[in-house]
């Protein structure tokens, strides 16, 4: 196996050796790929809300809004991790709440709230990490997933978010609900990931 | 390497008529001469010219292509701009030749020739500095920008001149940026694809009801008008040089193809 490594690296070196000169590292100014309309947007939270909504994410401005929506949509069982207690204290009286999540719950739990690690205003993206998510399945398997985003963790641009990628083995950027257009190009939401992607801004 | 920004811009120019105009479209070559002269140029026509070699180059038969290009480089020796009424032949001169002469001893000599070559519209606007064209030509035209002018200044230059002509209306048509399907020997080695592409283009053009179909490349127009004529629904085609010339004489497309 390390013979393969040596063979491949040697082949690469031999392939590149004849080049009279090699392409140098281009200078990539930090915001060079920012959308041109980003400059005119002052408020990260407002821009995030606009872009996330455009991507199909349902943005809740308060825990109360989120709770009303869950109630109206008759979410059967809602998973709320303990870490979100400060935000979701009132939920237990209105919807059926569970505080544990495991593989066994994949088919039973209809909706889940989990903390986000951050967000991106430019694209309306929610950032999840292993560190911030109690269980990968909790943010993925339920039909409705609502990420709780603290406003001060919203990055302005995609470039900013890349510069701040944490030391986490599983960082996921979520931009809207899961979808496919494989069947005749017709857009259907809710394939393998959540069919409803929500975001509670706090 | 050829830098298109370094091309010479004098008024004494050499004309490369192109093998297609030599064989089929003499009026386009004539119009090119008249247009250049109207713009104040002295036009020299080296009579030993033949072809830029593109047909052989496109087939991958590079030794044959180099033979032809070497002859062409000799014929057009000098310092003057070389003007050609074809985006495809111009691209062969300043781009294709650099590929086929990689590693050849006479690459620099070949690039000296390619590095003086201009497509006609590009030369009028960016070489001579023209921003408009006089006269009139009242007609609706569909303008087909040939693919080999992608990424060059030719398309915008030709449009700028045409748009300035009194009475000329340029009508848009669907999928205008898609290839007409000629592609040189592609047209005969892939006849089904080539024909399908051409028929799709004709369908879009016909929906816009132009009086003339205009381009800077006779190869595209030969393919489209050949298809149209075969189906007994001929179209009228013109090289933009003919429009410029006819506009001067207030004469509307007497010679068409």
């Amino acid at each position: 196996m390390s013979a393969a490594r040596e063979q491949i690296l040697a082949a690469i070196q031999a392939a590149l050796a004849p080049l009279p000169q090699r392409e140098s590292r281009p200078v990539v100014p930090h915001g060079v790929a920012d959308a041109q309309w980003l400059a005119g947007e002052a408020d990260n939270a407002a821009l995030f809300t606009k872009r996330a909504t455009a991507a199909g994410t349902r943005v809740f401005a308060s825990p109360g809004d989120c709770l009303s929506w869950l109630f109206e949509n008759r979410a059967a069982e809602v998973y709320l991790p303990d870490s979100l207690r400060d935000v979701t204290a009132r939920f237990a009286g209105i919807v059926d709440v569970v505080h544990e999540y495991s593989r066994a719950h994949v088919d039973e739990i209809d909706a889940a709230l989990t903390p986000a690690a951050g967000a991106i205003a430019e694209s309306g993206t929610i950032i999840l990490t292993d560190e911030s998510t109690p269980d990968r399945l909790a943010a993925l398997a339920p039909w409705t997933h609502i990420a709780v985003v603290r406003k001060e963790t919203i990055h302005r641009s995609i470039a900013d978010a890349l510069a701040a990628l944490p030391d986490d083995p599983n960082v996921i950027w979520v931009t809207g609900p899961s979808k496919t257009a494989d069947v005749e190009g017709i857009l259907i939401q809710g394939v393998h990931g959540p069919g409803v992607q929500g975001c509670l801004l706090v | 390497m050829i830098n298109l920004a370094d091309r010479p811009k004098s008024k004494r120019v050499q004309l490369m008529a192109t093998c297609l105009c030599d064989a089929f479209f003499d009026d386009v070559a004539k119009a090119t001469v008249e247009v250049l002269e109207h713009a104040g140029c002295e036009v020299v026509f080296p009579e030993n010219q033949t072809c830029c070699g593109q047909p052989a180059f496109n087939c991958g038969q590079w030794p044959a292509a180099r033979t032809v290009m070497r002859h062409t480089a000799q014929v057009f020796a000098g310092d003057e701009p070389i003007i050609v009424p074809s985006g495809s032949c111009a691209a062969m001169m300043f781009h294709g030749s650099t590929l086929e002469f990689e590693g050849e001893r006479d690459r620099a000599e070949i690039e000296q020739v390619g590095g003086r070559t201009w497509e006609l519209g590009d030369y009028l606007v960016n070489g001579l500095g023209l921003s408009s064209w006089p006269g009139e030509f009242p007609a609706k035209i569909a303008f087909h920008r040939a693919c080999h002018t992608r990424g060059t200044a030719s398309g915008p230059a030709v449009l700028q001149l045409l748009q300035s002509i009194k009475g000329l209306e340029i009508v848009p048509f669907g999928e205008g940026e898609q290839c007409c399907g000629f592609g040189g020997t592609f047209s005969v080695s892939f006849p089904n694809v080539s024909t399908a592409m051409g028929e799709l283009k004709l369908e879009h053009i016909r929906a816009a009801h132009p009086d003339f179909v205009v381009s800077g490349d006779m190869s595209c127009l030969m393919h489209l008008s050949g298809l149209a004529e075969r189906e007994d629904r001929p179209i009228k085609t013109l090289h933009f040089a003919q429009i410029l010339r006819d506009a001067l004489h207030h004469r509307h497309g007497q010679a068409t193809h």
Binding site: G185, I188, H192 | -
Partner: protein, 468 residues
């Protein structure tokens, strides 16, 4: 009009003639729509999208021209974070590496996320031979799998299928009675795949990029299938072509901003995942083991060739979508894993000593250059097609329908002969050309007329002016 000349035909040209119009129409509609979305979004979002494409091209070219450094650094970064890195020279080596990892872990069921390199190495067939069930989780790839078919587009694998086709396949597969409603089809796939994700011992993915500095594998999807491949399973195996390496996270700002817009007209795909290690021990879900298999499969040969720029490709599919030949032919016409313009360069090169079998692919192009215009990494595809045509000629690969140019070389370098031909060519207008055994002429005349011969007329006119 019947062609009276018997002549060998180009395979792709024949394919186009025989392609059902319904398929052609579906492909055309879809590719044209995506091309329009791409154009719109790039125009809305960037003052100079072309400058960005060229910058992305430099980033990729630089990475390729320092690949030994960056690949080794990526390996270090991944190893430091608990991933195990393997190298595979050939397709067989890569397949073997995968089965050894699975067998060592006692795994017989895997779920797969979409990966073109796994198609290249025929991974699923190999796994099946070793008694390992591998289920494709991407909806389009799953349908391709149950149909025993091949993807016809690198981003939209079933662009050539109708809802009726899919409904029949699902019924045959036992997913329910015939139902061609796209939403129903999708819900059924969701329900079915859930079971597969939960029982799989391993998730197999590809990667769009790997960053050298931090070892992050970047996966982009819309469905969420790659996320699900990496949640319940114990083992993650990623197969990554060696050319996918980029220097650092910051380079991704340019590449990710172009990838989604170029591929599907989206600013970002729904899910962009950055994965550089197995899960930490205190987490309940996620793979305990992460393996990355860097696959060569002749990429080093391509790197050594005069077509190395093709390795910049980030698999967005924009070139397929804009290509007028792809739109007429659809993906299966290319008889290989990678169709369209990128495939016309990459497939013959990856075929190695079977180059001749795919040497016709680079010829199936009018060299219009639309592919280069839309390429997010500015690959000069038409130049590469020309180089491959040259190579095919040098290797004496027969080329049906291509005129031999020896005569043309004589004509073009002997002005007296040329001028005679201009005069005598007038005979053309008096001959029954469509009945003459000149193959190339017949091919033209089948659907087109030729203009009247005017050879010598311009020269005479020019001469007479000079004398007056």
């Amino acid at each position: 009009m019947p062609c009276t000349i018997a002549m060998a035909k180009q395979l792709i040209d024949t394919y186009v003639a025989e392609l059902p119009p319904t398929v052609q129409k579906a492909v055309h509609q879809s590719t044209a729509a995506t091309t329009a979305k791409r154009y719109q979004l790039l125009g809305d979002d960037f003052a100079d999208a072309d400058a960005l494409r060229k910058l992305a091209g430099s980033i990729r070219q630089h990475a390729l021209e320092h690949l030994d450094t960056y690949l080794a650094r990526a390996e270090e970064s991944l190893t430091a974070r608990g991933a195990k890195v393997h190298y595979a020279v050939t397709a067989e080596d890569a397949c073997r590496a995968v089965t050894e990892i699975l067998q060592a872990a006692g795994i017989t069921k895997v779920v797969k996320s979409k990966s073109m390199v796994t198609e290249e190495i025929h991974l699923n067939d190999h796994l099946a031979k070793h008694g390992i069930e591998s289920v494709e989780s991407d909806l389009g790839e799953y349908i391709v799998q149950i149909d025993g078919d091949h993807p016809s587009h690198i981003v939209r694998p079933i662009i050539h299928k109708t809802r009726g086709d899919i409904a029949r396949s699902f019924e045959r597969e036992g997913l329910g009675d015939y139902n061609d409603d796209p939403e129903t089809i999708t819900r059924r796939a969701r329900r079915f795949m859930r079971g597969k994700y939960l029982e799989a011992g391993a998730g197999i993915t590809g990667a769009n990029f790997v960053t050298a500095d931090t070892g992050r594998l970047v996966l982009v999807t819309n469905e969420g299938n790659s996320r699900f491949c990496l949640a319940p399973a114990k083992v993650h195996i990623a197969l990554v072509g060696i050319e996918k390496v980029v220097p650092s996270d910051s380079d991704l700002a340019v590449l990710l901003n172009l990838l989604g817009r170029s591929a599907t007209g989206q600013q970002l795909t729904v899910y962009t995942e950055f994965i550089n290690g197995p899960r930490r021990p205190d987490r309940p879900s996620g793979p305990e083991q992460m393996h990355v298999v860097f696959v060569d499969n002749r990429r080093t040969e391509v790197l050594a060739s005069d077509c190395k720029e093709i390795l910049r490709c980030i698999r967005c599919g924009a070139c397929l979508n804009v290509c007028p030949v792809y739109r007429q032919a659809s993906g299966h016409a290319y008889r290989s894993v990678y169709p369209g313009p990128v495939g016309a360069v990459l497939s013959p090169l990856l075929a190695g000593d079977k180059f001749q079998e795919l040497a016709d692919l680079p010829k199936a192009s009018s060299l219009c250059g639309a592919c280069n215009e839309v390429c997010p990494v500015d690959i000069p595809i038409p130049d590469l097609l020309l180089r491959l045509r040259h190579r095919a000629h040098e290797e004496h690969v027969p080329s049906p329908g291509t005129p031999p140019m020896a005569g043309f070389a004589i004509l073009g370098s002997h002005p007296l002969v040329w001028r005679s031909a201009m005069t005598f060519g007038a005979a053309k207008d008096y001959l029954p050309l469509d009945k003459m055994p000149v193959p190339y002429l017949g091919s033209w005349l089948k659907t087109r007329t030729l203009p009247k011969w005017r050879g010598g007329k311009f020269r005479a006119w020019m001469k007479s002016r000079q004398h007056s």
